[in-house]
Symmetry: C2
Subunit: 286 residues, 2 copies
């Protein structure tokens, strides 16, 4: 049986620090504020928003809902983002994506000022992840993976890390973060030959394949740390990861559960970014 | 004996296309122009500049030398870059680095407009490489590696590629370009354990270790393609790569020589970017 790398204690440790920081900011009359910008009423988005709002409340971060009709024009949406850029009471923005097809998503994302890009959607934030510098903020999911490694004292230096997935929201940034932490990193994807053999080489395996349970026993060996980024619904309607948990559990050393693993930490990372953005804004004011 | 992946025919093929494009641009009264901005008189920089100027001339690209004293102030240098941004007769800029220590290099690099960033020094260009989109231009050396693979019909899809080095000018962008071309990519660096074993797994090995001849026979196996990015001077005063050529040659399938390999293609890539920048500027004018 593998050790379970649960998200809850990671979240608790992050929250404790965040509540202290929020208290310090409030003493300076600054209330960290996150704007949720949602176009349309996709149920998944609404559910995530409700969950995140509760978490904000718990930590003392103010949340602002900006709900827009799905036929909003690109210009109106850009104007909305410019207003958020100019509004000194808002420190970060989360934009639900994908946007409707009539809107040029990249243009809208890059209209956001990097200082408020707490979800890592601008080119500046991407450059920051690639360069290994603090420009904007990294995407929350790969950073949540790093928070989990940190909390459980798993040191990437000198380890072989394998990342399944080359997306801009998980795979590529996770690889860059692991290189920054001195791991030897391999990136696999749909065109990789004999992926199970590549993955068995990993000391740390980050799975962002995007398909329920497709990473089975042939991917694992004794001693591995497995971080399952996937969030899927199985045929019985239950949440599950990209890893076949029942097959991994008897083989690997440690694994994140789904639900209750990476996903829950991701929201804390988002709020952490908002608090950092508020601190930076306070520093700029002097 | 390995096949020699010489740079000369790659350069010849690139130049032929570039000369055609330059001719077409001149018919529209556009003369592609590259500004070389050099602070101080480092002999290596002057030598590179002289070589690149000759190559520009051969292709019909105008070169402008901007030579500045090494005690130039940061503000003066920034002003110079703003002038280049505003000058519609200049299409690309190469800035020799490192800059003197009293200058904040990243600030100066990012003052350049991405449209003229033909050497990939801005955050925008870095974001482009990371995202896999045309924003600015990628750094010339890793792109020269890709041009060599292309010219010699070496298809990265499904291959195992290993990159030695995690710098922003070679290692990281080379890795991103190989992922974009569907290779399974591993990035090694000074903290990698048993690097020779990792490298023996490679079908394509890109070496940017930064030390003369340190990649020896234990890194190789039959059938490999080796791209040697290193340019060093050995104890006899001769140019040599990071690969111990004499040890690689009898083992691997193909290898780039040093000199006469990646380095010579890099200058052609630089000029290619200037021509592309001039074409883009022409398109914007309509």
């Amino acid at each position: 049986m593998a050790e379970l790398l649960k998200g809850a204690p990671v979240v608790a440790a992050l929250n404790e620090k965040l509540i202290q920081k929020v208290t310090a900011l409030k003493e300076k009359n600054i209330k960290p504020t996150l704007a949720f910008v949602r176009v349309g009423e996709r149920p998944d988005d609404v559910a995530y928003e409700n969950g995140a709002l509760k978490r904000c409340e718990k930590i003392g971060v103010r949340a602002q809902r900006v709900t827009l009709p799905s036929d909003i024009s690109q210009d109106e949406l850009l104007e909305m983002i410019r207003e958020i850029n100019a509004d000194t009471s808002v420190h970060g923005m989360l934009l639900f994506r994908p946007l409707p097809k009539h809107i040029y998503e990249s243009l809208v994302c890059n209209a956001l000022t990097p200082e408020k890009d707490v979800d890592g959607i601008t080119n500046s934030s991407n450059a920051g992840v690639f360069i290994g510098k603090s420009i904007g903020y990294p995407p929350c999911t790969p950073q949540a993976c790093m928070e989990i490694l940190d909390y459980y004292n798993i040191e990437p230096t000198g380890k072989k890390a394998v990342v399944i997935g080359r997306s801009l929201v998980v795979g590529k940034p996770a690889a860059m973060m692991l290189i920054q932490r001195n791991a030897t990193v391999t990136i696999c994807h749909t065109r990789t030959k004999d992926m199970p053999a590549v993955c068995r080489e990993a000391d740390i395996l980050i799975v962002a394949a995007g398909r329920a349970g497709i990473v089975g026993k042939e991917y694992f060996r004794d001693g591995q740390i497995v971080i399952d980024v996937g969030i899927n619904v199985d045929e019985k309607g239950n949440l599950c990861g990209d890893v076949n948990f029942a097959e991994a559990d008897p083989i690997v050393k440690a694994i994140t559960p789904v639900p209750g693993g990476v996903g829950t930490v991701t929201t804390s990372v988002l709020i952490k970014h908002v608090v950092e953005a508020a601190e930076q804004a306070a520093n700029r004011k002097g």
